[in-house]
Amino acid sequence: MGNDLAAKIRELEERIDRLENKGNSLTMVLFSGDFDKAMAAFIIANGALAMGKEVTIFVTFWGLDVIKKPAFSTSGRGLLERILLRMRPKGPGRLAVSKMNYGGIGPRLFRYMMGKKNVEPLGALIAMAMEFGVRIVACQMSMDLLGIKKEDLIDGVEVGGVATFLGKAYEGQATLFI
């Protein structure tokens, strides 16, 4: 009887631990490759990291543009992939904005205004999140589809599938799709 009670208490304690830890992580899907949306994603990620949360960003489709290296060779890929890679921006410094892009004038204007108002640039926000231990998981399927290799992405990025994202999403209480 006493043993049963002790075992029951232990089980309940474990369940409480699990429930309390539920609020300790943030999972995001970064689908968009727009500069402004990526800014929002990395500001939220950094805030959560500062609050001591475990943050996982699952990067898929156009979002992959955000975590590309500024320059890489497109050799060793098919013609369509190479055309696609040429047409898409490489890295945070080349992204378009979702509104008022005006053929690339918009982003320049935004970057200029951000500099004047002392808003941290996107590249620095990404670097800071990495330093704080963000987990960035690039979607294997969209990488294959768009002809992106792991070496084309910034260092420290993992490659995974939808189950990696879902596993993390079910562990936490907050999931964002950007």
Binding site: I43, G47, A50, M51, G52, K117, N118, E120, L125, F132
Partner: protein, 74 residues
């Protein structure tokens, strides 16, 4: 116990919170922080940060545009 003064004036979201978190990481238990920032969002942000990271209590004073938060690392 050390007294640490941080000046985050002129910085924008999320930098004051990030820098606070970085400084707290390096600090020892019982260290007292005085953080000055002039971003209006800093007041609700630091209050939420203190609550979430259990570095309570957070004492906030205002001096003109400046918001001064006093926090002790628990």
């Amino acid at each position: 116990m050390a007294r640490i003064t941080l000046d985050f004036r002129g910085m924008n979201c999320p930098m004051p919170i990030m820098k606070t978190a970085m400084a707290f990481r390096k600090a020892a238990q019982g260290d007292q922080f005085e953080i000055t920032c002039d971003d209006p969002g800093f007041e609700p942000d630091i209050t939420a940060w203190c609550k979430e990271t259990k570095n309570l209590p957070c004492d906030i004073k205002k001096q003109g545009k400046d918001i001064i938060a006093s926090i002790t690392k628990q």
